[in-house]
Symmetry: C2
Subunit: 374 residues, 2 copies
């Protein structure tokens, strides 16, 4: 598989570091770090840190309530993906000097409400002043019974599931940035600007993007899921990473489009973009993608029912590092490395991203399955 720029950067950054003797996971193996207490205890600790900088700087999270909310959820979602229960959260905030009292209150209210939604608390934090708002959260959790979920362990034949509908994060980004696009470049951009001004319209649910970490789901998957990862970077990036780590591939179920968030699907359709593009952007919906062996499907049904949720079947694990997606024209092998690097490389340039996706779709339609990157 082609290298991923982000993975290469992480390798470069961590090359000099040794590994801790109390750490159970290897690099990239889990969404949160797993350590045991040297003093002996019947539980494992899960620890994760994530910053919001680009999403704020680019204006994607221009709503301060959302910035506060997300600074909690991105970290809680990592705890969910290892099956941990949260013990609490630390928040470090770099606050611009011109941020007024009501703005700060809105930011803090987002943090507070997200913590409440996760039944957890802010334990402490730090504040600095700076040119731009940067929010860094760190979450601590506990894995009871000394078991945790890992990204590694799925085998061909396992069933691939999602904890909820997909595409909401990318649809939100498309919507947020569509107003900066040149009018006329995409047929429907004018309509979407109008929709943005009028929150009473049907697309309203996307504007109120409020991902919820799947903590309950993750906890009930311990001992059942063979691999698990959150979709914080979008579905294709998540599946690409799982493919690399497991030396396996994925094939989506025919009719996978029905698992897209309906509002997200409308948003992509309105921009003339194919449904698969809702999976290909880098803006996540913070669901969990996980695999279960076929024998354990009954076990999953029982555990999820007990915990009050329902797993949605998205596909299956297959042999080889391939990502097969059934489309109208047949089943297509997607170049996930190309799409993943594209999403992170284009950054906020939504026109470039859309243009590249339309070009990729045109290649697909022509039945060209080679690397369009060439």
């Amino acid at each position: 598989m082609n290298p991923i720029h982000e993975n290469e950067l992480i390798d470069e950054l961590t090359r000099a570091f040794g590994r801790s003797p109390i750490q159970l996971n290897r690099r990239q193996e889990t969404d949160a770090e797993i350590v045991f207490l040297p003093t002996g205890s019947d539980c494992l600790l899960a620890l994760t840190t994530d910053s919001l900088a680009e999403e704020i700087a680019t204006g994607l999270y221009d709503d301060l309530y959302l910035a506060g909310w997300m600074s909690v959820m991105i970290n809680m979602s990592d705890l969910a993906a290892v099956g941990a229960s949260p013990l609490g959260l630390l928040i470090s905030e770099i606050l611009p000097e011109n941020l007024d009292g009501p703005s700060i209150q809105r930011l803090q209210q987002g943090i507070r409400d997200a913590c409440e939604a996760c039944c957890t608390h802010v334990l402490g934090g730090d504040t600095n002043s700076g040119d731009r708002l940067v929010m860094t959260g760190t979450a601590l959790g506990v894995c009871r019974g000394r078991t945790y979920l890992s990204r590694i362990g799925c085998k061909p034949g396992d069933v691939l599931y999602t904890t909820g509908p997909l595409g909401g994060g990318n649809a939100f980004a498309l919507r947020r940035f569509s107003h900066v696009m040149t009018p006329g470049v995409f047929p429907s951009s004018g309509m979407h600007r109008a929709e943005e001004i009028d929150p009473a319209r049907g697309g309203n649910r996307i504007v109120r993007y409020r991902p919820q970490a799947r903590l309950r789901e993750g906890e009930s998957l311990r001992g059942i899921a063979t691999a698990c990862m959150d979709t914080s970077d979008g579905v294709i990036a998540t599946l690409d990473q799982l493919m690399r780590l497991n030396g396996a591939g994925f094939e989506l179920t025919p009719g996978w489009e029905s698992l897209l968030d309906p509002a997200a699907r409308r948003e992509f359709e309105a921009h003339g973009l194919p449904p698969w593009a809702a999976l290909a952007g880098q803006h996540g919906e913070f669901e969990l993608l996980f695999t279960v062996s076929r024998e354990d499907r009954e076990l999953l049904a029982e555990a999820s029912s007990r915990a009050g949720w329902k797993a949605l079947e998205l596909g299956a694990v297959i042999e080889g590092n391939e990502m097969l997606i059934p489309l109208d024209g047949g089943t297509i092998a997607f170049d996930t490395a190309y799409l993943r690097n594209l999403a992170s490389g284009c950054g906020t340039d939504i026109r470039a991203t859309i243009g590249a996706m339309l070009a990729y779709d045109a290649k697909i339609q022509k039945g060209v399955q080679t690397d369009v990157n060439d």
Copy 2:
């Protein structure tokens, strides 16, 4: 006592938050947050997060190795101040896009070496790109035997100690910023520029500012110190905070100047600044200031000797919210709130800071003990 701007900001930020039922410390009561494991364990966890943003943006930490080193040490120092042993560290880095490979290596080497100096490891982290370098560390530690050090608990009569020489952080900042001062404003600024260019000169030790978290010291103080706090914001800020939290004051021992780092003292003298100014800036030396009741002095001597270090007597806890410092002209009551707000308010404007400190010193010399802020 007059309010402290930083404390007011923290109150504003945390107003909306509830407290966690598993958290033992109250707000401001400890340098790190203390939680117990709901699953039952014979140890407590200590957790702290600190970002480096202003120190990098202002150029104080323009050496990337130092930025990496400090991103670890500021957090380890908080663990030291609660008497915790480190379990590990998370690092979130906002990297400017123009940072080249060798620069990133230097940054990471600073992190690595600081971890090695603290016998700990990087467990994980996060990277984002942004306009400016921001480093956020989060440290996890364990307090064995379910005891930890708090900022609260000292009583009049207790002896005040430091784990090491003082003033190194402020001398480093004075030295770093002196080259941006207008020549001639201070008699010795020219000489200091020369010294900065020539690292073979005597002041060299200050340029190599490498604070070391006092982990061994903090751990051996559990059960002995009545209060403890690190000097991350400078000595006067630390004592001011301890005064507020304990409803008590401090009087420094005559001859306290001998506890200043000799190189730091020379730096301040060369700028025509009084020795007390080395305690008044906001740039810490990351020593621990702690108090011990008079009956437990022998216990302290034994414990510190066993751990291989020596406590330095700095003063005593007194009745009333006063900070008394013996100077040539007698014992002066310092307005710590004024000096603390001054240090954070002037920011990088070293000329303004120095000017204000010289003005304060002139008032002291005239025997004026009222608030020079009026």
